[in-house]
């Protein structure tokens, strides 16, 4: 795996972490970011999805701008219900801030990547310790391949 050369600013990372933890929130099992979603996405953005780096930069900026417009504070500092409502508006394309990238060119992709991080194999950087597999009862094989 290539070493990480592309990364996001601290603000964008905090937005991504917060959004991932609402896309798959913690209950008695961890949330997506707690299980490695940010690491999974950064790895993809440095390899197979290098072409989407700017989509992420602008998309995460859009979420943050939306939060500032609606609440005057950063997305990561909102309550969970506020975050859910805001992401729901973005999913429905109801936005008030200026978005450089269309909200629907980003949010569905973000959801899919977070799902991939949480339910695919831990070797991809998410699903730490196979938590999602334990949660759903997937009989992950042993073995050394």
């Amino acid at each position: 795996m290539a070493s990480v050369t592309f990364t996001l600013s601290d603000l964008r990372l905090s937005t991504l972490r917060a959004a991932a933890n609402r896309i798959i929130p913690a209950d008695d099992y961890p949330g997506a970011a707690d299980a490695g979603a940010v690491e999974f996405i950064l790895r993809l953005l440095n390899t197979d999805l290098a072409g989407e780096q700017l989509t992420y930069v602008h998309g995460l900026a859009g979420i943050e701008a939306e939060s500032q417009a609606a609440h005057g504070q950063s997305f990561a500092s909102l309550t969970a219900p506020q975050q859910d409502a805001l992401l729901g508006n973005i999913e429905a394309d109801r936005v008030q801030a200026d978005w450089i990238i269309a909200p629907l060119a980003f949010f569905p992709m973000l959801v899919e990547h977070v799902l991939e991080s949480f339910y695919a194999d831990p070797q991809n950087g998410g699903n730490r310790d196979g938590v999602s597999w334990k949660m759903i009862g997937f009989r992950a094989e042993g073995g050394t391949w």
């Binding site: 390899t47 799902l115 009989r139």
Partner: protein
Amino acid sequence: MVNDRPPSDCDVIVIGAGAAGGIVAAVLAEAGKSVLLLERGGKNDPTATTGRDHLRNQRLSAYGVNAGPDVADHPRVAVLSDGRSLLVRPHEVGYQNNAACLGGGTRVYGGMAWRFMPQDFRMASSYGVPDGSSLADWPIAYEDLEPFYQRAEWEIGVAGESGADRFAGPRKKPYPLPPVASSPQRVVLERGAKALGLNTFPAPMLINTIAYNGRPACGKCGMCVGFACPTDGKNGTQNTMIPRALATGRCTLVTGAMAQKIHTDPQGRATFVSFFIGDQLHTCAARAVVCSAGAIESARLLFNSATDRNPHGLGNDFDQVGRNLQGHVYTGALGVMADPVYDGVGPGVVIATTQFNHHNPGIVGGGLLANDFIKLPIIFVKWAMPPGQRRWGLSAKQYIRENYRRTIHLAGPIHDIPSPEARVTVDAFVRDRWQIPVARVSGTTHPESIRAADFLRRKAEQWLFASGAKNIWSYPPRLTLSAGQHQAGTCRMGIDPRSSVTDPWGRVHGHENLFVMDASVHVTNGGFNPVLTIMALAFRSASRLAESM
């Protein structure tokens, strides 16, 4: 011998070491012929693992593939149904990928081992020819292939319950291996099938349910589709026929070898093949050449071997090469049971019916239905969530948690009704790293395939309902091309050179020592996974070639 120093001449060159090529090489080598077996995949490590990446495998190729072809070196041009042409890589939409490695698709397949039915060989005379389709009868019958189905079942290794499929053609010998064990899904689905009067039985599988042919039993890990088998209990050509070919000492296998051109003399006889190993060009002369590169690459190679005598490609004087590209429209339905029906025991396919392959009022053909292989969790999330189910938030997490083990998916392939407009050509502009024109894939299946798929999905829904499933759903089939793993039809066999590419033994019309032995020769592709038919035809055609040399 595995070698990167190919011979300069041999009796037969076989291009492609997949389901057919591995068999062809073994049959010829065991008959005393010297064989050069070329495989573009695998680089020089035929034992390479295919890994366990849930996002980059033959079943879910989100960001890459695990069994070839190399993502950077093998582009194609895909013409989508809206007319756009896209330059695509093996894991991208429209590429129609099949594995390129030692064993080809058999290395990473699920391994359903169906014989076609007798009626499958005479679709045109059974149903008539729908407008715009190229539906035709095969020039051979089930009875011609039966001895070779038997060879494939015994020499590769198939597990099944002999005689349990009431609609199957006659068989002269039982399956060599006992069927896969029952499971919670089978118990539930048998109940529903009984209520509906459906004849069901364990799906035949190319899996060692017990140790066989010197290899151990399947480890039941449940990751059959998309990955190589960790216990080597799944039977492909890479662990059966190719080792037999190599054991003769008469077969040279070269992996990482990309065929460039089949060279022919002024009489149309194949004389030698040029191919690249890395970027080094090699040639090897032969008394016969066999294309076993799959329906897309075999057609591409015939196009790219054009000469003054055959300016449109070898075997293509009548514009037949590359046409009738088909695979399978898949259909089915999903439903949710009150109690978990997941036991995690692979391969997961345990119950099937062939009741809807034929004799469906107003429908041309039909297809089998079987419960699906065990789904990786991410595949469940991508493919098995009901319509309207939110994909994010706590409710989505809870849905997946509650229903991964409760969901049943019944699925099956429709006997594709071929269209001459679904086709492979070579692109006029795009070339691969070796400057070889790439395959251009265009067209869709015929609308009759869609009607049959729509019929079959309702049958799947009814079976689920009768089995006690709730919240049942399915999707209307779409008019697309589905010619990846099951690709077939581009060099169909026949008697008349004006409407076929090869004779009934795979010999290319007009080229007495040039053959196609892979799914390209399928006239139609059955309402079944086609691999056992590919294997049986390879045994049949290669045996004939060996006798004739």
